[in-house]
Symmetry: C2
Subunit: 490 residues, 2 copies
């Protein structure tokens, strides 16, 4: 695997091919992201987008639809029709059946034409915005047409879910690596493209202040919380076969855990950071079969059975919490609680680091009635920033310690310009060949391995499936003292 450092350079001339270009992701996220990158001059002027879908659309219709998406979802408006037209001129659409070999030879020809026109070989990014069932046929089609052969120039982006369990994840990795080399595969987790998630690395490794206390000697517990207010919405069909553990914890929350808990990287190279994250995943204590109730809580919001495409007797969890213990020198004995759920009282993503009490509280008893241990909160969203809850002397002639907040907010420290969307960061990274923020096959499989004992036990019986009221803070789990009360304190 080549080890390319994080690059701030413009990418090489690139053709981006989006499979499933007629879908929501392309319209809402991918093309607005590409448009913003282009507008901010991050893209090479030698640049082309080819949309592929079974839907029948002309180039014009496709461009029109993309324009509507940009108008609706882009963080920056289109400056002028002329400017948009220059972008749109680089966009084409192909109506095709993904099983048709002619599609891939056609693509190869189109890419070759670009290379010829640009006077240098085009890089290619193949974005699979398609259901998992179609991945194999597209991947093999690309391989057969010779579009996976150039390890340096042909890149593949895969969207989650990366499998449904360990076996299917291994199968997926196997079929992808039968065609592409692992270094060509970018498994995208848009959570890792969020500014505040990336900033966990800056916070930990660009500041001398925090790393010395970032260990079991000073930290009592860590909570990683991703709470949603929405229900399953139109995704009931998918979600009812996944559930919160698969949909959120196996990927997003475990990835955030890696950034919070991993050892310092030697360098900001993709391999190095991916290895450090893998080290962390490997040091998580395996959950012994049959012990899920000691390490996991699941809940389902009331009314979930009435959602469209949800089985009337579904046992799928819409809330999950996992207690993770890390068996290494840094974290031995410090529980990490990973919590997520739908239809909760607030939409919030946050990492709460609770410090141990001071070793000796020397103050008079009357001064410490409202004393609390320190807490550091990384606000991923909303209110992007960092808070330290600390103790100060309340002004007054009497000695009274009171909790106060030391705050850092992105919005107060940086320009008010809208922050780039995660997809902008990630698409540019792929074009630059930087895999730092993407999950390796090892990571994905290791993460599945961690959650499998819980999934297996949950699949056997619905014992322990709690219900919770919509707009609450999730189920009340008396066996699991940190759950609901801790969440409600966010």
């Amino acid at each position: 695997m080549t080890d390319i450092p994080i690059s701030n350079d413009k990418p090489a001339p690139t053709v981006v091919v989006i499979f499933g270009a007629g879908g929501d992701l392309t319209w809402r996220k991918l093309v607005p992201a590409l448009y913003n990158l282009w507008r901010d001059e991050w893209l090479n002027p030698q640049f082309s987008i080819i949309g592929v879908d079974r839907r029948s659309l002309s180039d014009g219709e496709f461009r029109q639809r993309l324009r509507e998406g940009v108008d609706q979802f882009s963080r920056q408006p289109v400056r002028s029709q002329a400017k948009w037209q220059r972008f749109a001129d680089a966009v084409n659409f192909i109506t095709a059946d993904f099983a048709d070999a002619a599609l891939y030879t056609g693509l190869a020809e189109a890419i070759a034409r670009c290379s010829e026109q640009w006077g240098e070989p085009a890089n290619t990014v193949f974005y699979l915005a398609i259901p998992p069932a179609l991945i194999q046929i597209v991947s093999e089609g690309l391989g057969t047409a010779g579009l996976a052969a150039d390890r340096a120039r042909n890149r593949l982006i895969v969207e989650k879910p990366f499998g449904h369990d360990l076996i299917s994840a291994q199968a997926l990795n196997h079929l992808l690596t039968a065609v592409f080399h692992e270094t060509q595969i970018y498994r995208i987790d848009h959570y890792l493209g969020k500014e505040t998630v990336q900033n966990i690395l800056a916070f930990r490794f660009a500041n001398a202040l925090f790393e010395p206390i970032w260990n079991r000697a000073y930290i009592e517990r860590v909570q990683i919380i991703v709470a949603e207010t929405v229900g399953v919405e139109h995704r009931g069909g998918y979600y009812d076969h996944a559930g919160a553990l698969r949909d959120m914890i196996q990927n997003h929350l475990l990835q955030i855990l890696c950034l919070v808990a991993m050892e310092p990287p030697v360098a900001f190279h993709a391999n190095e950071i991916r290895d450090k994250k893998l080290d962390l995943l490997r040091s998580i204590r395996p959950i012994a079969p049959g012990t899920a109730r000691q390490f996991a809580v699941r809940g389902q919001y009331e009314g979930y059975h009435n959602e469209p495409d949800v089985a009337p007797d579904s046992q799928t969890e819409t809330f999950a919490e996992l207690k993770v213990m890390i068996d290494n020198w840094r974290w031995q004995g410090v529980p990490f609680y990973l919590s997520t759920g739908k239809k909760l009282a607030n939409k919030v993503s946050t990492v709460k680091v609770s410090f141990r009490p001071v070793p000796h509280l020397a103050f008079p008893e009357t001064a410490t009635t409202t004393w609390e241990p320190n807490e550091l909160t990384l606000h991923i969203q909303p209110n992007e920033g960092i808070d330290i809850c600390m103790q100060a002397k309340e002004p007054g002639v009497a000695w009274q310690l009171k909790p106060v907040t030391m705050r850092f907010r992105y919005s107060e420290n940086f320009d008010k310009r809208p922050i780039p969307e995660a997809y902008e960061t990630l698409l540019l990274d792929v074009m630059q060949g930087d895999a730092t923020l993407f999950m390796s096959a090892d990571q994905v499989e290791q993460a599945w391995q961690l959650v499998m004992p819980v999934l297996t036990q949950w699949a056997k019986s619905d014992a322990g499936l709690l219900t919770y009221a919509p707009d609450s803070w999730g189920p009340h789990a008396p066996d699991f003292p940190l759950l609901a009360p801790a969440l409600s304190e966010i």
Copy 2:
């Protein structure tokens, strides 16, 4: 020495006797402070103030003058004339020569009458708001009249200067302790009564987060800065014989240094904290005779010679900076810079703690062009609070680290009510018998011992006396690289 913990209780019935009651301090500070304590019901209802001065004033005239002082300087206004009258009824004035023995027997009788009327023995606080030359006669007068005999109930407050050098400080302590026991003597440094100065203790010892990094492994240097914009004003006569090192560094700045650098106290008892501060002063590396230029800088603002009561050829420093090295395990090798001056560009009191760089900066070079080590600033005044200057990822698709500020402000975390004045805190402490925030004889003498080599060398010659422009950041001292440039960054 009795070891009384910090108390939040009301003090016992007390008679406060102010010697020099006709002076500015009484009018501007002491009585407004006592009035606020009374108004906020911190005082025992059994309470009396006796002003003593050579000036001839009736009780009525004295009360009228105090009322004007309260109207002008109190942080809280007088609510109603009736309420003021209740306070004023407890105030009396005695015109007397401090050398007159009848004054002290008269005071003893007045105090005895209070005790009788209150049905319990009155505590007494004797406040010496008088020039140093008069201290002996008053102290002895009180002793002869039996007003120093009760170690638990008779207390003496002494204002700075506590001597002019080590010898005179020892003499002053000697004459005070010839009459009062050391536990009865409260040497007041109003700086220690400031909320933000007291909060240094809360910050360090009520939070588990900072103490682990509060040492030579993580801290590169500390600057304690008290900058004034005013010149000597009407105090030229006193100041020209003192100078910045005596007037500010020997007391205020060294006391702040103690709070910043001392070891954790076992308990918040006066003895314990005073001992820990003394330990710190004793661990400061002595400045060898003749080496002042390696450890101290002095400056004089242009035009100082034209100030009233200043000698036309005065060599007195109006700016001083002292580099302090602490020979203990925690601080070995970490320089502490104590800087103060008059006629500087800004009025600011602050402690800047500069951390070492991260041990390994793993980020790509292009990301770290504006990287800076962490800095923690304790703002004593203005903008009372704490800042951490740290590094964050600048939002954007490129990796760029930028300094940002994490802030805590008293004004944003607590009621907007005016914070109690330092004199309120300190007067109440004396009435409660809590000497934590007062300087012991040991501390005062140790502090003098530290600065004597510099004072001695400076007295011999004016070599190294730099001039600086008013409203600047002090002299430019090329031999002392941290001086002027560092100050200007506040």
